[in-house]
Symmetry: C2
Subunit: 191 residues, 2 copies
DNA sequence: GTATTAGGAATGAACATTCATTCATAATAT
DNA sequence: ATATTATGAATGAATGTTCATTCCTAATAC
């Protein structure tokens, strides 16, 4: 087993356990067992628990941004780009519910608070898809004049909450619902 | 000091500590100290930690519902009622940031998941303000045809996220912003 | 004087982290 | 080609700490 694979096993195990049980319900010993490695081994790959937790989140963020960037309709109107992102979010997280639950745990924790201050979804190097959307929308006067955070909240908070409801099996998120949801969010930010 | 007062002191101390530091950062000994009572005393009022945590949340929910029910414009159009609730939420939580942060912590924890299944903000006995809004909106055909949860998410998720941003001092929530926010949320659910 | 309430030291369970030891593989010598 | 040695990855028992809960004693009420 290569080094990289083992690292990924640990990340996967931590993600699944924390997503399912919360930070509490996932002691290092359990993560080690699920990853099929010794406890000590984890510390060869991650300095300590906090660093592991942050690494898992970074992994998720990177995968999401990569997914959303695929076929991004850069040269099309803001509205189309918004739908691409909104529906991409739904598609990605419906397919990867553990990633979603982990992100939520992370987000609403002391880690997340620190992280959010820097800026959500801003991955070093890559252009910020979300910010680009906001700035172009403002410049072209197709969205309301709002602080970027508020725009972001109107545009994506209902999607996040609905994804949560879907994952908890309180609603069923299909293409039709995703479409209505995205359209409604657009209604709330469009001029 | 009466029994009731002591109970409230404990609830307040738990709320403030957990809101500020998370569930982790608020051991019983710290709650006791902040409340000005012995650790053992807490166990005279609350069977165990989990029960205390749930009691704090119930307290918050009750206060909120009471606040929102005051001057509720029952006989006015759905739209007005929606604005009453939306702005009431903002007013209440801007004035009571610890209540907001605690609710968030609670909501995104194993406790919250269990709780949400029953139904958010449904306080036994009182009519459910939120559900009433949805049902009347549908009946009068002033809102889109959506599952109740999705309606709820569109209507209130952006407000919750923005309250969070305000409390973390990333934006400033004043009356003007609350108004725009409420109006935008309404835009997303209105027919 | 008795009953009830408060207090906080003591207890034991859970957990993150460490570190001495094992073991597989690679490097080197013969 | 085979034997010997070196390297460092992997391991999990041991350690020290934190914390919820208990329970005995003190204070207070009646």
């Amino acid at each position: 087993m290569t080094k990289q694979v083992k690292r990924e096993d640990i990340i996967r195990a931590a993600m699944d356990l924390i997503a399912a049980q919360g930070f509490h319900g996932a002691p290092m010993s359990m993560i080690a067992e699920k990853a099929g490695v010794g406890v000590g081994t984890i510390y060869r790959y991650f300095e300590n628990r906090d660093i592991l937790i942050k690494a898992v989140y970074q992994e998720i963020e990177e995968r999401l941004v990569t997914f959303l960037s695929r076929d991004y309709p850069y040269d099309q109107p803001v509205r189309n780009c918004f739908f691409h992102v909104a529906k991409g979010l739904v598609t990605y997280f419906v397919q990867n519910p553990m990633e979603f639950k982990y992100s939520e745990q992370f987000h609403y924790s002391p880690f997340g608070e620190a992280h959010r201050r820097n800026r959500i979804f801003k991955t070093a190097g890559q252009p910020d898809i979300f910010l680009e959307l906001y700035e172009r929308g403002l410049a072209q006067q197709v969205i309301k004049t709002l602080p970027p955070t508020v725009f972001f909240n109107l545009a994506f908070a209902p999607i996040a909450w609905s994804l949560r409801d879907h994952i908890l099996e309180m609603i069923r998120m299909d293409d039709a619902l995703a479409q209505v949801l995205a359209a409604s969010c657009w209604d709330s930010v469009k001029k």
